[in-house]
Amino acid sequence: MYRRIRLLMTLTLGVLAAMLLFAPLDVAAQGGSITGRVTDSQTGQPVAAAQVFIAELDLGGLTRQNGSYLLLNVPIGTHTVTVQRIGFRTTTMSVTLGAGETMAQNFEITEEALSLDEIIVTGTPGGTQKRAIGNVVTTVDAAAVTERVAIANMQDMLTGRTPGLQFTRLSGNVGTGSSIKIRGVGSFNLSSNPLIYVDGVRVNNQSRAGPMLGYRYAIMQDEAGSSGGEVSVLDDFNPEDIESIEIIKGPAAATLYGTEASAGVIQIITKKGREGAPQFTASVRQGVNYMTDPAGRLGTMYACKTSSRTPCAESDLFTYNMYDEANRYIREGAFPWESKELFRNGLSSSYDLGVRGGTSNIRYFLSTNYEDEGGVVWYNNDKTFRTRANVSVVFSESITLDVSSGYVDGHTRFATPVRSDGGVWQDLRWANGYFLDTNAPGANERLFGFQEHLPSDVANIAATRDYSRFTGSATLNHNFSSWLNQRVVVGLDKGWDTNQVIFPWNPAPPPNQAVYSETVSGTIDYGNPMTEVQSLDYSATIDYSPLGFLDLKTSFGAQYSMRRFENLRTQGEGFASPLSRSVNQTPVERLTLTYDYIENKSLGFYVQEQIGWNDRLFLTGAVRFDDNSAFGADFEAQIYPKFSGTYVVSEESFWNFDLINSLRVRGAWGKAGRQPSVFAATNLWGVIPGPGGTAALRPSSPGNPEVGPEVSTEYEAGFDMAILDDRISGEFTFFRQENKDALLNAGFAPSLGLPGAVQSNVGQIDTWGWEASLNTRVYENDDFSFEITFMGDHTNNEIVDLATFAPTGGIQIGYPFPSARTRYWVTGAEFPAGETRGTPINAMCDPGFPAEGVTGAASGRRPGATPIPCVDVGTDPILIGPEFYTYIFSIAPTLSLLDNSLQVFAMAQGQFGRTASENAAEWGHIYNNTRISQLENNALWQAADRGRFTDNRTKRYYDGDFWKLRELGARYRFPASLIGVTGAESMSLAVSARNVFTLWQAQTHIYDVQISDPEYGAPTQGGGGNYWNMPPLASLHMTLRVTF
């Protein structure tokens, strides 16, 4: 693969060099010119990437890193030059240019708190000004973020910058990603992944790619119905290539995207070329990924000197820490290990080179990137090569073409590949200190006290993903006169993966022949999933102003998309040799082949009318018609309407409130959908092995010809406000969604002989919440400024209707989804009611069992105890709490010094309301490495432990609230006097740290079991549990960026 990477890098750099050679010829055009610099009126700093243009001539370009611009071939005469930049007030200036003259004109622009003139990608041609949109749309200035702080993935990019957006942080396994939810969970069975568009085309939004990792029950199913991994393909994109990201948050805003848009839309806009000489940007990022305090995350572990079984006499207890013990074993050479300690500082590096430039007719942005992320175990790494080429061609005043293309190629080796158990972390957490003495009775002398595998056993298993992906789009814009703007977008996103999990032939010496519980002679799981999304989008906007104060925009369009998934997967058992590493080295009769092929097509049309009054009041109405190949034959096409209104009231002449200098109110109502799974409408039969080697059939899933999409209806209302001359600004939005026709799996009476269940549109989940952000410029002068940004959101949901569906498990009317529950409730006075999470737990019950005659110590059983009086609430379990965070807050102070050359910043994030689970606590009875479980002298623990066997899972639940320091860093822009000798235009050095400190966590222990991290592991929405995955990692990086 690396040979291929080198080749691709060489080719890319060759193209870059060619552009460098030829571009100056293009820019040497005839005519007058206007040049100058654009600076921030408050800081005096140059403003890069500002649009400088003469609207009537359709002539313009972007400022360079040093704020300079150059407009060539400007006709003689007086022109109005406009400067626009996201986040700044639009500034215009009249310039008169003489024949052959080069006019110098500098601009000072002022930062705008609310950015109401910012152009938002809404699904209609050309985008829409923010002031005209009735919904809240969060825009992340990705280019600014990457310039300031090291960004390794999308989670780094968006966390703490987008209220209403949640990540499920699964693990510290480098190469894995996080699923994204916008405004919470509104579906029982369908994905809550938002739609993702890159440069206007729809792309694969799967968050379960890669091989199956870790404990099998942690794994969510992919769309083929088979288990998937923990990779988010969103991380395929290079953050350095992204100009901005727009988060469209709910059905009211996403109506124009139709079916599948209920969960929101993420628009990624990559960097584009701009007129001017080539401008190169090179950046080098170096750093480490590491686990903070691994020994402390395990906590003090307890074991008994006299027995591996409990209870233990207090006098026989001793303490140890298995992480420290592992390091001792490594020093002693007890097992092979390629780093000095069990967990290393994984090196992290990234190299980016990009160039942008062009003429008035052709503009380009080219980039290449190589990234190498190392995990804390030596064999965990993710190496990625990416390249991008974006070209814009201006054919005429009315026709332009934007071509965007990206390619990624990479290889990941994961950290936790043991199929039926966890990996290294589990073997630490469930160590038994009694067996540190390998001569102890019953000891497996090769394990040294590790629970089931040596770390080197786990390292010998290879779980890998090799991936390639192409994403490309072509956008043809046509502006007919000034009233018709139409656009055609063609897109292709295609990814090819090779996933492997190999358990080598690795017998242990007698008498313990098995290293892995799964296999002695080896297994291999080899798959080649291919995912493809093709899209075609036509849309047009007719702009008409019948009266000077009235602006009408009629938009209409059609979108067609096809999504295809294909995977040929082979699983083999029994290698021919200990050296065997491929599927052809297992016997044919022990091969299992599975083949999945899924195709889905959707077609939608929309019509939208926007009425603008004096550029202040906007009313928008739209309707979208959708049909989808997954809809049942008896289901008609879906219709999604929307209405919205927004009013910039502060621009009215009657507005006399000087305190509030900007105020916009807005509201929206709309619908969007989620499509059922591809096969939901069809009875399917699977092939099973028949007698005598024949093929046989078995019904695999019944279909529902009436199945349709889930339909989400949302209203939202809010305001954007700036006060004290933009010194304080913010926005607030309240939303409420009714997610009707939620699909639930309605089973059949088994006696009908139809296995499985049909998806039926019978449920409803309501989701509600609010989102707020507030930016305060606490102090600022020419040399020094200090500002703080606050963000917060609240998201909750409730199951409100199940129609004919019989409540089961967590699907109960009145409950949030997903939720933690218990069936039993203690009634004894000694266990007072109250908080059910964590310690003390009062939601448990146990009838007890007699101590007398119970002699099960040899098999690990505990003696009996006094029964805990309780009630069995039967089929209506008691709610403990939601298994998702309901409140998220962030605080991000920024201190700017030395005329803004030096920025020091931090971001802390707090998450609240989630009932989290720590499975290691649940299993603490068997893996007795805590004081309580060794002594067995805690009545609550005993009751909770026994309850584990009667569907009472409260022993594992805890209060998952926490505050973490997400980002901490500084960025220094070298002054021109320093970098002048280098010939560079600008140079900056950034140092940043991420997740380096947990500031506070509500609960650190459950019955003596250390909670290794409060954040990771969501049991039902993305897998999890806290023993089979690495805790999330921290990182420390330094980035040098040069523009020349």
Binding site: S420, D421, G442, A443, N444, W483, L484, P511, N512, A514, S517, A540, I542, Y544, F556, A558, Q571, E573, E589, R590, L591, Y595, Y597, N600, K601, L603, F605, V607, D627, A637, V678, F679, L684, W685, G686, V687, I688, P689, G690, P691, G692, T694, A695, L697, R698, F748, A749, P750, S751, L752, G753, L754, P755, F849, G853, G860, R861, W923, I926, T950
Partner: protein, 481 residues
Amino acid sequence: MINIKRIAVGLSLVVALGAMGACEDLLDVDLPSALTDEALDAPEGAETQVNSVIALFECAYSTLAYQAAGHEDVWEKIAGVAGSAAQYDAWPDRGDCDSSPEDDDWYDNIQVGRALGVKTYARLGDWTDDEVDDRTKKQAIVALYIAANMDVLGEFFCEMAVDGGSLMSATETLNLGETWIATALGHISSLGDFEMPYGIASSATNMAVGLRARMKWSRGDLSGAMADANAVPARFTSWVIRGAGPQRRNKVYNTGTAVGYAGMLDVNDWWHEGPNPVTGQAWGSPIPFTGYLNLSLMADGRAVHASGLPVRASDAGSSLDSRVGHFIKTVQGPVPRDVPTKYTADSDNIPLVSWQELLLIKAEAQGGQAAIDLVNELRTFHGLPQVTYADAGNATEIRYMILEERRRELFLTSRWWASKIQNTDLLWFPRSTGFFPEQGYELNGGVRMVMPRSEYDLNENFTVDQRSTGCDVGQRPVIRS
């Protein structure tokens, strides 16, 4: 301009509506990996459907044999990180039993195979001899497998329903199975006896009659069972056949020997939770008729003591019983376990109708010296000591002898579970094993299963309150809601 705009908008709407009308073609998808109902419509696929009925039963029965081993006190399952017990359960697990070697699921495949069999039988009736080769033979085979499914549903459940219908008692279920046997025999007689395909049995007639003998025995018709057993020649066996390979799991083999998830147990000596629910008497300590480790025979053929405890290697003068072999194998965890040698490869077949069982049915039906002679016929076959100790006039001793002989002779074939259902006054049931005795604590008695909860919830003909009402007290499971 206004006109142009209106025209443009109007045209777009017309185009949009027109395109919506053409949606169906644009939205056609190609799904080559999926087979739909159409796959069953063509008579050319009749052979596949027959094979499907066989395969579904085989798959389920293989797993049932493993599940039954838990009911029979055979072993302790130590799979995974926690070690759940292969223990008695009140209801069967649903699902696709081939998904994993650890899965206990089998019930769906019994019902799916039965339902597919009924539909296939109907289709075969609709098709003609010109369309389907050996149509009558196929009808006979399908009917036979429908009956085999009904046998399982009748033998091990309190009550049963088929095709979403009303509750049937175990006897009614078995009777329905016997009607399918009659149907099969009708087709067989019209053709003449034939060999079952794939080495399943040398005679379709003997397989049908032997299966009917078992059904009759299960519903207490000993004389009828003996009559059918007598009609089946010696040494006849029909098999649940297993191909090698991971997709045709032999759960008994995999869990008991190959992967080693389960370890065999010694005579139970710790259960004191409750009395025998039928007799009200406390269980003995150790409990009789339990344990499979080191089972031995005395020189006089004695396999069981008067207490009901088996003869073990520790009994002086005994020799090991080769029918219940085991060996030490290291499995997951630090402690090596005893695993059975009953199946040595995952392609080993499981007996469905065995001459040994038919012999013991006859012994049970006749009792006395005839029973001793029939047991000795088995012993001779295996080269084991003849029974000389038994008093032919002592009914208890004869009963004990037959029970213990069934336990050993039919080891790991699901048949001992059926014996326990017939003898709840004497045989210990259920047991709870593994690391977690709590898992079995609520199961204080009862030997049959009930259907999965979903049947009671979703079948409009009865309610969940009727669970287990089809069982006698001694056979009724204790069900946690």
